[in-house]
């Protein structure tokens, strides 16, 4: 797999079927439904339990907006991943081109997926730092590899967008 920036696109080329499949799983992996730990992580409270008013208003007004925000990001990523649709054989050495303007949507979707997977499997700090663990083993090992692979993509995208970070200064 090669990853680089070409003009206004981030390009992931020479994708083997395994990594292509992991990419295709980003939107599904980012979905916290059915796992309360993942749901609680993505929609954590904005204040301690004593601030009942703030928490109640947050749940009513902010949480639905956050849900929409996260969903919009995963939908953008899913649309980009259409480039990889097709049968498994056609994945071989495929190239995925991500418009640079979708970088933030990818950062969000990758982060959602990493947080949801980590919450589902309750990975320890030690496991999350173990970048050399083989994905071939248990489902847990594969999921840990998935978290690290998505983290690697995040790092690359971050490097590419770090030129224009400031947007909301006082």
């Amino acid at each position: 797999m090669e990853i680089c920036r070409r003009e206004d696109k981030l390009e992931i080329s020479e994708l083997d079927p395994f990594l292509a499949e992991l990419l295709r799983q980003i939107p599904a992996s980012a979905n916290p439904e059915g796992t309360s730990a993942a749901e609680q992580r993505l929609f954590s409270p904005p204040a301690g339990p004593r601030e009942k008013e703030i928490c109640a208003e947050w749940k009513l007004y902010v949480q639905p907006e956050l849900r929409r925000l996260f969903q919009t990001a995963t939908e953008t990523v899913a649309a980009d991943l259409e480039q990889l649709s097709g049968n498994e054989k056609t994945f071989a050495n495929r190239t995925l081109r991500i418009p640079a303007k979708h970088a933030d949507a990818w950062l969000s979707a990758l982060n959602q997926a990493r947080l949801v997977i980590a919450a589902k499997y309750n990975f320890t700090d030690g496991e999350l730092c173990d970048h050399y663990r083989s994905p071939i083993g248990s489902r847990r090992d594969l999921s840990l590899f998935q978290v690290n692979f998505y983290g690697f993509l995040q790092e690359f995208i971050l490097r590419e967008v770090s030129d224009c970070p400031e947007k909301n200064s006082d």
Binding site: A47, V62, E65, A105, S108, E166, N168
Partner: protein, 131 residues
């Protein structure tokens, strides 16, 4: 890039309303039971604290999360607070090593907005009253 176009605006709860009322200034008459003919001239006590001063004790706290990348957290601090990279990295490292960092303190409304933006970037952030 993802634009934060949330329609929600922080609402003023009872505590906020009470603070607002306090900040409006106070006028008192020295002896309210006195005969109107002999009433003293009203003594006006000026309220010198601004609304912002009254609303100071709120802080935005970010908590450690082993999943979020350090570089990602730094970028979010730069974007949300407009901090230079060095300051953003200092806060990120404080979160990483101490488990939490106070990113900002001030008015409740703005603190709520910051927490909302941090959650939009999937960071663990809370709003706390300064004890």
């Amino acid at each position: 890039m993802l634009a934060f176009c949330m329609s929600w605006q922080p609402r003023r709860g009872s505590a906020w309303v009470a603070q607002s009322e306090r900040s409006a200034g106070k006028i008192s008459i020295s002896d309210q039971n006195a005969n109107p003919a002999t009433i003293d001239a009203p003594v006006i006590e000026k309220e010198t604290r601004s609304e912002e001063d009254l609303d100071l004790p709120w802080q935005v706290v970010v908590h450690n999360d082993p999943v979020n990348l350090m570089s990602y957290v730094t970028m979010v601090f730069q974007r949300v607070f407009g901090y230079p990279r060095e300051k953003a990295e200092r806060h990120m490292l404080e979160v990483h090593h101490k488990g939490r960092s106070i990113l900002w303190s001030g008015m409740r409304e703005r603190a709520e907005l910051y927490v909302q933006q941090l959650h939009g970037h999937l960071l663990l952030a809370t709003l706390e009253k300064v004890s």
